[in-house]
């Protein structure tokens, strides 16, 4: 289930831990924290910062 919109998700068979996938319903980017058991979290947003 998408943690953002509760949509049912089909995880690809070749998915990897820490891979980022998109929810087909709401478009949220989700990180696969664990495959067994399946655990998903919202992927980090990209921040902007000064510097090298």
């Amino acid at each position: 289930m998408c943690p953002e919109c509760d949509a049912e998700l089909n995880i690809p068979a070749d998915a990897m831990e820490n891979e980022i996938i998109a929810c087909p319903d709401c478009g949220a980017e989700l990180e696969i924290i664990s495959l067994n058991p399946l655990q998903l979290e919202l992927a980090p947003e990209v921040e902007e910062d000064w510097g090298e």
Binding site: M16, E17, N18, E19, I20, E31, I33, A43, P44, E45, V46, E47, E48, D49, W50, G51, E52
Partner: protein, 342 residues
């Protein structure tokens, strides 16, 4: 003091402004030799290079050993190391040197740690030479992002030198003085930048121009004025095209670097996020408005690439530059775990 803490304290204690890195380079190479690297040497560009492992898959950890100018006092207070380069970027370089040693490397991996010279100047001599010596499968650039944050992109860069020299006229007349010619060109640049940025809110997406230096004077019957203008380029802006758009008979453009943006789902990003979480952190991503050696090597190596290192890049180039040693040790653990996952 832990070995890794001694390494960064000693390396920060050795002044190494750009083009004067030799003492620091030799210290790091000696440290690598004494601590079990399979190879450690100074290459033809003057970079410190250390290699661990004999696999056929190279992971290059490219830090820089030169620093911005100035040499404020080096000391440790409340587990925080103060001194030039502690953040930018000997913290990241020492994280690489110590983390590669600590890592349980996959058999097919060879890790190459590079302390490159001249990153803080437009030449990027060390990175440009390293780019000809290796063809890594993966590359991490050593720059401060915080122990729990991964840098995915850097803006590009362009520098324009503007110079004007002409006959003097009486200041009561209508002819423009040399500084007035300079200001007119600067206003032209500002108008160009404002037009570009009109509908762009993202800082990373904007074109930035900074008047870095302006000097003027008189030489007999002639007046002169020189300016240096620095540009930070968002993705999609070609530095040569920008130089052409702003070119006239008084300009000279150099220091061209295109912006670089990495895939947030690449193997390095995945491994780093897993390692940060394993250390109890919540990983974050960042785009930086500066440039780094990532801009130099990414278009050449064309491999998955990110930047990583402990510390707050807001302290780059400041007299108060400092790095928390506990964050540094945490970054070493993250880096070692990351390498084991690749």
């Amino acid at each position: 003091m832990l070995n890794a803490e001694r390494l960064i304290y000693d390396l920060v204690s050795i002044a190494s402004p750009s083009t004067q890195e030799s003492d620091a380079v030799h210290y790091l190479v000696d440290w690598m030799r004494k601590n079990g690297y399979d190879q450690a040497y100074v290459d033809e560009a003057g970079n410190a290079v250390g290699i661990i492992g004999k696999g056929n898959r190279d992971i290059v950890l490219l830090g820089h050993i030169d620093t911005f100018g100035g040499f404020p006092p080096v000391y440790i207070k409340d587990r925080t190391l103060y001194g030039r380069g502690s953040v930018d970027a000997k913290g990241a370089l020492c994280t690489f040197a110590a983390g590669a040693l600590q890592a349980d490397l996959p058999d097919d991996v060879r890790v190459v740690v590079i302390g490159a010279v001249e990153e803080e100047v437009a030449s990027s001599k060390g990175a440009r030479y390293a780019a000809t010596q290796f063809q890594p499968a993966l590359c991490i650039i050593g720059e401060p992002s915080g122990w729990d944050r991964i840098t995915l992109g850097y803006k590009g860069r362009l520098l324009i030198e503007w110079a004007w020299r002409g006959g003097l006229a009486h200041s009561a007349g209508v002819a423009l003085s040399a500084p007035e010619h300079a200001i007119a060109y600067w206003e032209q640049v500002r108008a160009y930048v404002n037009r570009f940025n009109a509908n762009i809110d993202s800082v990373f997406g904007q074109l930035d121009a900074t008047l870095q230096a302006i000097n003027s004077g008189q030489d007999g019957a002639y007046g002169w004025c020189n300016m240096t203008i620095g540009f930070r380029l968002p993705p999609g802006v070609n530095p040569q095209q920008l130089a052409n758009d702003l070119a006239n008979e008084n300009t000279h453009a150099y220091g061209c670097e295109v912006a670089v943006v990495s895939d947030k789902n690449n193997p390095l990003s995945r491994a780093l996020r897993g390692a940060i979480r394993a250390q109890g952190g919540t990983p974050r991503f960042v785009y930086k408005t500066g440039t780094a050696d990532m801009n130099v090597v990414a278009p050449i190596w064309n491999c998955p690439i990110v930047a990583y290192g402990p510390g707050d890049s807001a302290l780059d180039h400041t007299p108060d530059e400092h790095l928390n040693l506990d964050e540094y040790l945490q970054a070493i653990n993250v880096l070692a775990d990351t390498l084991a996952r690749l």
